[in-house]
Symmetry: C2
Subunit: 294 residues, 2 copies
Amino acid sequence: MLKNYLKEKREIIDESVKNYLDDLKYPKVIADGMKYAVLNGGKRLRPILLLMTLKLLGEREEKGIPAAVAIEMIHSYSLVHDDLPALDDDDYRRGKLTTHKKYGEAQGILIGDALLTHAFNVLTSKDQEIDAQKIVDIVRLTSQYAGVNGMIGGQMVDIESEGKSIDLPVLQYIHTHKTGKMISLPVEVACIIAGIEGEKKEKLIEYSELIGLAFQIKDDILDIEGDFEKIGKPVGSDTELEKSTYPSIFGMEKTKEMLAEKIEAAKNIIRSEFESDKGRLFIELADYIQEREK
Amino acid sequence: MLKNYLKEKREIIDESVKNYLDDLKYPKVIADGMKYAVLNGGKRLRPILLLMTLKLLGEREEKGIPAAVAIEMIHSYSLVHDDLPALDDDDYRRGKLTTHKKYGEAQGILIGDALLTHAFNVLTSKDQEIDAQKIVDIVRLTSQYAGVNGMIGGQMVDIESEGKSIDLPVLQYIHTHKTGKMISLPVEVACIIAGIEGEKKEKLIEYSELIGLAFQIKDDILDIEGDFEKIGKPVGSDTELEKSTYPSIFGMEKTKEMLAEKIEAAKNIIRSEFESDKGRLFIELADYIQEREK
């Protein structure tokens, strides 16, 4: 069930991203580079999570398309900048040249800047089905979770921690901020769109935090046990950059136990809060995050 | 009159920028770097233009403070990224080390990203005196003028043109986009806040485009005739980067004539559209742009 759902929604997201980038023509290198960076065969986990949450809350998913596209653009810009020589210095992502390797370093910086900026244009695009106050709330939350107190903060501490031995609170800060905030964001945005407050919202955020953490732990595992053909980038880059990860702190066996615990806790939240047919996709998504090979 | 006005408003802007950055503490290098990059003794031309336009339109300037601060943050991030080794590779700005020279290159990239992102948080900050629809319109316009179809587009074509002989349309594209859009932006934002449409708005935009172009022409002149002590960066960097400029295309004498023409045209718009006491600051600002030594 989940597999077909993911495929169908991935196509909707890709089509929507294309629509929002199609008009951009000049300067050609920026317009092309923005499309190259976003339309890269990504999993679309974040935008799909937004659509899934809307569906769960009984809201039409069309209302969430601009935010879903914007969140994917912000995720993509962050990868473009992370791959730069001054940061992780990666040449490949998902089996293709990274954006700066393809277009040049100055171009990579500006393509990332342009994607981030354009995300806010998409969030505030005209003729949306949601009212202005909700759009303002979504922009505020997005800029908070993507910024210094969110994703960028996590990225900075991650870089500062390279080559150092760090303790669990710092590793947790990195994971909850670098990856976690942008996985909670689509769930919270869906709650804003659906007008949901209170316990139901809190539980959904808790679920998103657990699968966000699980997603990052799984990334750490794949960086050691993954297959280049599947993950599309060299295995062992964390070790090479001397990054602290769950496996480097806890060992592989304990890491896998922790992953399983997070997944189980996430599923229990859904089981206790929603009827089984309504929550099924969320249960299956948690399993998918644990079992994914890329 | 203008001198005191600029001084007074500069202090208000600096104070407001501080208020919006004060809460940011962690990661320290990003929080410190954001403050370093914005609180740098800049002229604050863009935010002051927003406050001046509100005043001209009979609107309270408090309503424009979040947008004024956000525009200055976006301007500052663009300078941080422009100064990076992969772009203009500048070590000094306004007599101080550039942000990446002070904090490191990865840090410079992320500090710029954080400022750009935070600008949208400031634009949508809570308890504003303007309604949500206007905030949405301001976010949309800001992301348009700062993005691929605005400032970033101009910056990209500027870089692509280094070492090449370019013609006037390309130089005009660079100037109207790299500098011009972000000088028109505060004027248009003030019109949105004041609810002004039609000819008055068109004339104000025309004025902003003329002084924006004049500002850039003057920058080109100062890069040749300026004083390091005053402009705070090495003279002759355009020549070194083989950038096409007004003086390199038209010669210095003709360039100064063109500057004077733009200034005169800008002043004429104000004279024909507003009573002399109301428009006086706009006339004086045009003169200031022509005569400034930094």
